[in-house]
């Protein structure tokens, strides 16, 4: 800018140089913002690295076959024993049942939104699915508790209540991802099927869902990964227990996240100085090992989701 008012510009080279250099203040600010932006990313990586590192370092010590195949029945004080078998059983059963509830409802809702939905109801469903994504997990737990308390009487604790709570959290995630996948199916496929006289529902089941199956599988896996780490709703609906319970419909069950919390809550064990079989930090050790197991499960689910995408992606259909 200043070059235009400069009295005598010696040559075009000088002019070009003046015009093409940014003045110092602006360049300094640009540098500063660049380093701030890069710094923000580095700062965000710190907790990720720290969490991963501490969970691995503290969890690997107790993470062995014994830990995975024993429950906490009869384990007390600082005993060098106890494991998470009962918690794994609980987590797997409760999450699977929640999936069983959520996937049909979520998938059918997605089909409604993509294939049929127009007008006020569809708009309302879209809006409230988004709103439902934001329901606090503990409120979902309270809802499931209240629902079963009204039906079966208060004070009830069983696995299926936890499943209902988790499915409230899971349904919107399933709807969102399935909807996205169904929208990716090209319209020509639907039109071709309908033109051949295939009924609409068969078109959806045999053509649309068939094409989108990889995406739907991925979406479901990610939804499971999302809810499998939920603690609060299970704490208020399923409770805690030290022994193995296979029955979803009767009695308390242990789950992995609740196990982590429970062990943390019990804290350090007061050991007498001459005790042989007493580890003061045993509860924290178990908590870290269970946390490691939980993270591994979540990572595994995410990995499976990616593999599904890779191997069943629509491009393979030609």
């Amino acid at each position: 800018m200043s070059a235009a008012t400069a009295p005598a510009v010696a040559s075009t080279d000088d002019l070009r140089r003046v015009l093409s250099t940014v003045d110092k203040g602006r360049r300094r600010r640009d540098r500063l913002m660049t380093s701030l932006v890069v710094g923000a990313f580095v700062v965000a990586m710190l907790p990720l690295v720290s969490v991963t590192w501490t969970v691995l370092a503290n969890g690997l010590e107790r993470f062995d076959p014994y830990f995975l195949t024993h429950s906490m029945r009869g384990v007390f004080g600082g005993m060098d024993a106890g494991g998470i078998y009962h918690a794994i059983i609980g987590t797997v059963e409760i999450t699977l049942f929640a999936t069983l509830i959520s996937v049909p409802i979520g998938l059918m809702t997605a089909i409604y939104l993509v294939e049929y939905g127009r007008g006020a109801l569809a708009r309302a469903v879209t809006f409230f699915v988004d709103v439902m994504t934001g329901i606090p997990s503990i409120v979902a737990g309270l809802f499931a508790y209240a629902l079963f308390a009204v039906i079966l009487g208060p004070g009830i604790r069983m696995g299926v209540v936890g499943s209902v709570a988790l499915s409230v959290l899971m349904i919107p995630v399933v709807v969102r991802s399935c909807e996205e996948m169904l929208r990716l199916v090209p319209n020509e496929l639907r039109e071709a099927a309908l033109a051949l006289g295939v009924p609409r529902w068969l078109t959806i089941v045999k053509v649309v869902l068939r094409t989108a199956v990889a995406g739907i599988g991925t979406g479901v896996m990610i939804a499971i990964a999302r809810v499998i780490g939920e603690t609060a709703p299970l704490l208020v609906t399923v409770g805690v227990i030290d022994s193995i319970n296979f029955n979803l419909f009767e009695g308390r069950m242990m789950t992995l996240p609740v196990y982590v919390y429970r062990q943390y809550q019990q804290g350090l064990v007061p050991c007498s100085p001459d005790a042989v079989d007493c580890i003061a930090t045993i509860n924290y050790d178990r908590a870290w090992a269970a946390a490691l197991t939980l993270i591994l499960i979540v990572m595994l689910l995410n990995l499976v989701a990616r593999l599904i995408t890779r191997f069943f992606a629509p491009k393979n259909l030609g």
């Binding site: 660049t34 923000a40 965000a44 089909i111 934001g134 039109e191 009924p199 089941v205 780490g229 603690t231």
Partner: protein, 343 residues
């Protein structure tokens, strides 16, 4: 449930289709003509519509059942309530009990938001405009990994690793910036305080806020950016004049989505914070605040029937607050969508 809700809607749609076949799509008249759809097709349509309606029903049911179970606490006289529940902390009525909890919840969430939003914006900008194209997707995936860690693990990490690590920092803040009310008071030797909680919550919000803002930044019209650069703007000036104004509403709604999440977070607060029931802004002093969600999780297992009812009443308050925040955020997103669609 499906049979009571779906027929009116399906019927309503049908008459509309019969009345005036819409010319929008060549398929529409055929599909809704009625003659082309019977048996399994109709059943399938009803099942799909029913599922959609069921979602609305579930959301309504959440509200209804919470009110139903909270009713005893809402209608019991205050005197009886204080007599039967031991952990009301001197509150004389339900409202007096909920007040500090709402305050603590909002304060913790706001704190997390204040910490997380600038960092999340930086990350989103880094991924969308600064990082090399080839690396961007991978780096974005790294940030998403933060969302894959369960909240209970964050709680464990926050209480056993982060709190001891930040205690000296909080003590330093207390010594040198203690004249600011936020950092005043007797600094906690264990750092089980709201500032630590806010920090952990902020980490949990990062992937959420980043994911939304990143999408919005990437949608900035290419021409606007190129025009800014062509006028001689530096990269930062281009971002300030072209990207940020375009993304403003997206940033606001992302922050509000994060706020909704932070309001409802339970485990990290429960495991880290040493609770208290005061209207207090002291962030580095133990035993000052408590959040609704953490209070429910802490008291629920041992509560008597009236206590459970009281806790559900507080849960109802939380539900209403998060619902309002989320609906506002979604409304902003929707408005923006209309706007960019018109472009």
């Amino acid at each position: 449930m499906t049979s009571t809700t779906s027929p009116p809607t399906a019927g309503g749609r049908r008459t509309e289709g019969d009345g005036r076949p819409s010319p929008r799509s060549p398929l529409t008249p055929r599909r809704s003509a009625g003659s082309g759809e019977r048996g399994a097709s109709r059943l399938f349509r009803w099942a799909a519509t029913g599922s959609g309606a069921l979602i609305l029903l579930v959301l309504a049911a959440v509200a209804v059942f919470l009110v139903l179970r909270a009713w005893p606490a809402l209608t019991t006289p205050a005197a009886e309530l204080t007599e039967k529940i031991s952990w009301l902390h001197g509150a004389d009525s339900l409202l007096e009990f909920v007040g500090p909890l709402v305050f603590g919840t909002v304060l913790a969430a706001a704190l997390a938001l204040v910490i997380a939003t600038p960092v999340a914006l930086g990350i989103a900008l880094f991924i969308s405009h600064y990082a090399p194209r080839r690396l961007a997707a991978g780096l974005g995936y790294l940030v998403d990994l933060l969302a894959a860690i369960p909240s209970v693990v964050y709680g464990l990490w926050g209480a056993l690793v982060l709190a001891p690590a930040v205690q000296p920092v909080w003590a330093w803040l207390n010594t040198y910036l203690g004249w600011i009310p936020l950092f005043g008071g007797d600094v906690s030797p264990t750092a089980r305080v709201l500032l630590t909680v806010g920090l952990v919550l902020a980490v949990m919000l990062l992937p959420i806020i980043t994911a939304v803002t990143r999408e919005v930044f990437l949608q900035t019209p290419r021409l606007h950016e190129e025009a800014a650069l062509a006028l001689g703007a530096t990269r930062w000036e281009m971002i300030r004049t072209a990207v940020l104004p375009f993304a403003r509403s997206g940033i606001i709604s992302a922050a509000m989505l994060g706020l909704g999440r932070a309001l409802g977070e339970t485990m990290a607060v429960l495991m880290i914070l040493s609770p208290g029931f005061l209207y207090s802004f002291a962030l580095v002093v133990a035993g000052q605040q408590q959040t609704i969600a953490a209070n429910i999780a802490a008291q629920f297992p041992e509560a008597n029937p009236l206590g459970v009812s009281t806790l559900i009443a507080t849960g109802l308050a939380l539900f209403v607050i998060t619902l309002l925040v989320n609906m506002a955020a979604r409304a902003i997103v929707a408005r923006r969508k209309d706007f960019s669609g018109a472009n």
